[in-house]
């Protein structure tokens, strides 16, 4: 491409990197696919765990969450799940909220809420595991 047909201000390097105005290229899209695939086995494990926990007493439920394998898998599920949820909800906000400020605020709100919920969940698992 020797000639630039529209006299774009864009540099050849910028074009090659292809990251566009969002500066992140295909990362968001790719991470949605990765998190979707990771969630499949994690949720299957989680559902089967719930079957075992139905009608469980307080002590039984704590023992389940405190078991090392379960605690680690729960933390993994929490991380992947809220990552997927935050990025999914961000897409929804970006599709329906046009105005600059509400859009920015909406995305930050989604991210903050997901981070907060993820931390509450992870802290709860760790607290059960270590006390």
């Amino acid at each position: 491409m020797a000639k630039n047909p529209s006299h774009s201000m864009r540099t050849p390097l910028g074009r090659v990197r292809g990251l566009g105005s969002a500066k992140s290229g295909t990362t968001h899209w790719w991470m949605m696919r990765v998190s979707s695939i990771a969630l499949l086995p994690l949720l299957l494990w989680f559902v089967f765990s719930i079957f075992g926990l139905l009608g469980a007493s307080y002590a039984e439920a704590r023992a389940f969450v405190a078991a090392p394998v379960n605690a680690v898998l729960l933390l993994l599920l929490i991380g992947v799940m809220f990552h997927h949820m935050a990025h999914g909800l961000q897409e929804v906000v970006e599709d329906y909220v046009r105005a600059e400020l509400p859009r920015l605020f909406g995305i930050l709100l989604v991210k903050a809420a997901c981070l907060l919920l993820a931390l509450i969940s992870a802290f709860s698992v760790l607290r059960v595991a270590f006390t």
């Binding site: 292809g18 696919r33 949720l43 909800l89 929804v92 709860s124």
Partner: protein
């Protein structure tokens, strides 16, 4: 570029990375399209179930936080999940989760370039609905036996 200019598309002018002007497609317009086609319906439902599942996740956060904070809070949560309303909510979450998961797998197949022709799109769309119903019922049969 296509000849009939839809006024709604007039604002949808983008630029390719080499700077040339391109008309980007408009996302499906709610009044101009029939939303009850299986193609649009499965798409809309995937978004709705994604949002609903995001709300449903709050119940998991509640359960974990209650378990961490003590027996009283835990029993309150357990009593809710064992109540009629609780079971109704959990049943709804099951259906929503299966739908989003099956439709999500369909998305992943599309991303791999598979299943784009219309007969396959219709067939997989129907499979998502039937699969959601079957797996939701199956999940609850196992749950009720395990309870």
């Amino acid at each position: 570029m296509s000849e009939p200019i839809d006024p709604r598309q007039a604002n949808f002018v983008g630029r390719r990375s080499d700077g040339s002007v391109v008309q980007r497609p408009l996302s499906p317009h709610l009044q101009a399209y029939d939303m009850m086609q299986i193609t649009s319906l499965t798409s809309i439902l995937h978004r709705i179930t994604g949002g609903a599942w995001s709300v449903a996740v709050l119940f998991l956060v509640w359960w974990l936080a209650a378990l961490a904070s003590g027996e009283g809070a835990f029993n309150t949560a357990q009593n809710f999940f064992g109540s009629f309303l609780g079971v109704l909510v959990l049943f709804g979450i099951t259906a929503v989760a299966w739908y989003h998961t099956l439709a999500g797998i369909r998305h992943l197949a599309w991303d791999a370039g598979k299943g784009f022709d219309l007969p396959t799109v219709f067939a997989t769309g129907r499979m998502v609905f039937i699969g959601t119903a079957a797996l939701t019922v199956l999940t609850w049969i196992i749950a009720l036996v395990a309870w």
